[in-house]
């Protein structure tokens, strides 16, 4: 090829070029073919490997996803003993697709009106002729009704199963549980506060365990409901709380609503008086004032003497007592007979600054710390908080707190003076007890035991006593503020109690809103006559369930206070 003479063999240069080109093209084609084959083989290999993989580890075609574990559409809510309080069930829903109806519309309308009389024949007929695609006829229909509708044999009537929230205990603990809206999202109470937990697929398999005990809740609701009916009160609230852990064992607000049909509730029924409502709770505040004074060194002991005239005139106002002493009286007597005059003087000695600091420390100036969203903010005199307001707050007028907050205060006072935030969830690994915050000294907490026991043994709270259970507590009768004036006749009565007083374990707070006098109360509407018996009855019912054994031979150390009580009056 490398011939020097182009004349002899003279390949045409175009041919030469062609050979080179062909070779190049061939090589390129080989490359492309090889590449194509590799791709093809690779794809086949991937498919084969995938098939092998599936054969070895994969699921077969008939596998039903999600049925290997029962996960409800929304998590259950159970009480502390595992009793279900809220569950999601598959409910029957009856609906109609008017466009798909093929039968005689008038006959169907007649049959529907007969089966579901909440709408008339004409309304059903109009519905069927409206031409709209879809109407709900009944949600959560009974099986009998579903069967009857199905028997009509009309393809335009749709019968389906839909997840629906059911509260098996109906109105029990309704305000704690709250309810869900039509899309199964929490709209109140625990349902709203823990909506994420209850609806998240990762967590909803495990039920939400509340600190509520349904038996205690039932006892409290029943006794309180009886009292509310007996005294024709417009409302009532009650809280039972564990002193040491802050767990709310029962919390109720009456009138109750039925969370199964939240739409039927009136605003009054929807209102949670225990956490959202704030009330001036009157003399139930006095133990706090006294404890503050004791801790601040203002009051040295139950024997300290104050002058208790029939009427105390201070800062241009008159302070009255329901049981006026008209003589010098000891701190023990002031507590026992719930003397406003005595307590006002103690509060005056304590002073505004210290009182504010104490109330702040106890958590009375903020919203109550609980997981629920329905939380009321305490009402205080604010900028008008002067010396006279300090005195009235000392005996519980002029400051409005939620009943739960009051229970929290008593729990703090009797848990050796240590504050634990209240909780609606059961204490356990998921909700451990946070370290407390010391508010009162242990000594003050101890001294208050016998003072409050004295109130029930000999003072205004006699009717709250349940033999053997050593209840101690304080009655509170507050005049209700109506249109800016304190009413002389309309009261809010409350009782805050602790039992057993020799080793406090549980707090119970009950409140009646506007109770009326009856023949049995001899015309009185004070707390000692209407709410105190509720406490007695409730405690004798719930204490055995809570493991508090009745003992007639145990009492707190009454020797600390009895010497300072003047007995001749009795």
């Amino acid at each position: 090829m490398n011939a020097p003479s182009p004349a002899l063999v003279a390949p045409r240069p175009e041919r030469l070029r062609l050979v080179g080109q062909r070779r190049q093209i061939l090589a390129l084609m080989h490359q492309r073919l090889m590449f194509g084959m590799l791709v093809y083989a690779g794809v086949i290999a991937i498919i084969a490997l995938r098939i092998l993989w599936l054969a070895a580890f994969g699921d077969h075609a008939g596998r039903k996803e999600g049925l290997t574990q029962l996960i409800p559409d929304r998590g259950d809510i159970v009480d502390r003993d595992g009793e279900p309080l809220a569950r999601t069930i598959d409910a029957w829903t009856i609906a109609v697709h008017p466009t798909k109806v093929i039968g005689d519309k008038l006959a169907i309308a007649r049959a529907l009106a007969r089966l579901m009389p909440e709408q008339s024949e004409e309304q059903y007929f109009a519905m069927l002729r409206s031409g709209k695609p879809f109407f709900y006829l009944r949600r959560r229909a009974s099986p009998a009704l579903v069967e009857a509708v199905n028997a009509l044999g009309e393809p335009g009537l749709a019968i389906e199963r839909e997840p629906d929230r059911l509260y098996p205990q109906t109105s029990l603990a309704a305000h704690v549980l709250g309810f869900t809206d039509i899309d199964s999202h929490g709209a109140a109470g625990v349902e709203r506060a823990f909506d994420k937990y209850l609806s998240d697929a990762a967590t909803r398999g495990q039920p939400l365990v509340l600190s509520i005990s349904s038996k205690i809740q039932q006892a409290l609701e029943h006794e309180l409901g009886d009292a509310k009916a007996q005294f024709s009160a417009i409302g009532a609230a009650g809280v039972v709380m564990d002193v040491h852990t802050g767990e709310v064992l029962a919390m109720t607000s009456l009138p109750a609503m039925n969370p199964n049909a939240p739409g039927e509730g009136t605003p009054d029924q929807m209102f949670n008086r225990a956490t959202l409502g704030v009330f001036e709770l009157g003399s139930t505040f006095k133990p706090f004032t006294l404890a503050m004074a004791m801790d601040s060194g203002v009051v040295r002991g139950p024997g300290q003497i104050y002058n208790c005239p029939n009427v105390l005139t201070v800062y241009g106002h008159n302070v009255h007592d329901t049981h006026p002493f008209g003589r010098a009286c000891s701190v023990a007597e002031i507590m026992m007979e719930s003397s406003n005059i005595g307590m006002a003087q103690i509060a005056d000695q304590l002073g505004t600054t210290r009182q504010k600091a104490w109330l702040k420390k106890m958590g009375f100036l903020d919203r109550v710390e609980i997981e629920l969203r329905e939380r009321g903010r305490a009402l205080t005199p604010g900028s008008r908080w002067g010396p006279f307001e300090t005195m009235t707050i000392g005996f519980g007028q002029g400051i409005a707190v939620a009943p739960l907050q009051l229970a929290m205060g008593y729990a703090t006072l009797f848990d050796n003076g240590v504050y634990h935030p209240p909780t609606i969830l059961k204490r356990g690994p998921n909700n451990p007890l946070p370290p407390g915050r010391r508010v009162f000294s242990e000594e003050t907490s101890y001294k208050m035991r016998s003072l409050l026991r004295l109130v029930v043994m000999k003072g205004t709270g006699k009717k709250a006593d349940a033999p053997g259970y050593r209840i101690g507590g304080k009655t509170g009768t507050a005049q209700k503020l109506i249109n800016g004036h304190y009413s002389q006749t309309i009261n809010i009565t409350s009782f805050a109690g602790v039992f057993p007083m020799d080793d406090p374990r549980y707090v119970i707070v009950v409140m009646l809103d506007e109770p009326h006098a009856t023949k049995d109360t001899y015309g009185f509407t004070t707390a000692g006559w209407n709410v105190a018996p509720v406490v007695s009855r409730t405690v004798s019912r719930i204490a055995p369930m809570l493991g508090v054994a009745p003992d007639m031979n145990r009492e707190p150390n009454m020797g600390e206070v009895l010497p300072f009580v003047h007995e001749t009056k009795e």
């Binding site: 054969a55 290997t68 029962l70 029943h222 053997g468 004798s540 054994a549």
Partner: protein, 247 residues
């Protein structure tokens, strides 16, 4: 047709067989798994049914409903504080029969038949002996004396008397022999008396509820019996010591 051709065919057949075998194993595993899943599904469905039934029962037997039934029909109430017992002994005490004092029967027994019937065997020979001193008496006196000393201690010196005093009291009851036997008793008695002071105190209480007739009868006999037997007091006292522990 060489063997090599068959060799490749055999190779293919072996590969096919192995593949088929593998596939069969896999198929078997898959079918087992499918069965297992069916069972799991059944379990879940059963759980769902259980849950439905539980919910229904729970709803029908809700606490407010139970409370209503209780208010209307059962009328059960919470136990009162005194209905709780702290232990098994308190429970056993509840089963103990109540002892009631019946006024009719004991009076009849105490008044008429009991003393007379019992006087006949024990008392008659004594009174006869006391009335007329008989030589056969000593052995009968031993019995009488023992009974007497017993009864004397119980009613006359109830609780406040120490063991030494009881010894002294006997000596005063038997004035003539008082001086000599006193030290002997003082030595002997403390041991016995120390063991029995509780009994001596307790007995009168029990005796009042129980056998009233005995004490009455013996008290009548006692003051009479020792007087004529002053001279033979020593053996009497010894016998009293012997008998007392038995009582």
């Amino acid at each position: 047709m060489s063997v090599r051709n068959f060799g490749s065919l055999a190779m293919v057949a072996t590969c096919a067989g192995a593949a088929l075998g593998c596939y069969l194993v896999s198929l078997r595993v898959a079918s087992e798994r499918a069965q297992l899943e069916d069972v799991e599904t059944k379990i879940v469905l059963a759980q769902r049914d259980l849950r439905t039934v539980q919910t229904e029962i729970g709803t029908r037997a809700r606490l407010s409903q139970l409370e209503r039934w209780n208010a209307k029909v059962l009328a059960l109430s919470a136990p009162a504080a005194d209905q709780f017992l702290s232990g098994s002994f308190e429970l056993a005490r509840l089963a103990q029969p109540q002892r009631k004092v019946e006024f009719n029967a004991p009076v009849v027994l105490a008044a008429a038949p009991a003393p007379e019937a019992k006087k006949a065997p024990l008392g008659e020979p004594e009174t006869d002996d006391a009335g007329a001193p008989a030589p056969v008496a000593p052995r009968a006196l031993l019995h009488q004396a023992s009974l007497k000393t017993g009864t004397r201690e119980v009613p006359s010196e109830p609780a406040n008397i120490s063991p030494q005093k009881t010894a002294g009291s006997k000596s005063t009851a038997l004035p003539a022999t008082a001086a000599k036997p006193a030290p002997k008793k003082a030595v002997d008695k403390p041991g016995l008396a120390a063991a029995h002071p509780g009994k001596l105190v307790d007995k009168p209480v029990l005796a009042t509820t129980g056998p009233v007739t005995k004490s009455v009868r013996l008290a009548k006999v006692d003051p009479l019996a020792p007087l004529p037997e002053k001279h033979s007091s020593k053996p009497v006292l010894k016998s009293s010591k012997e008998l007392r522990p038995g009582r």
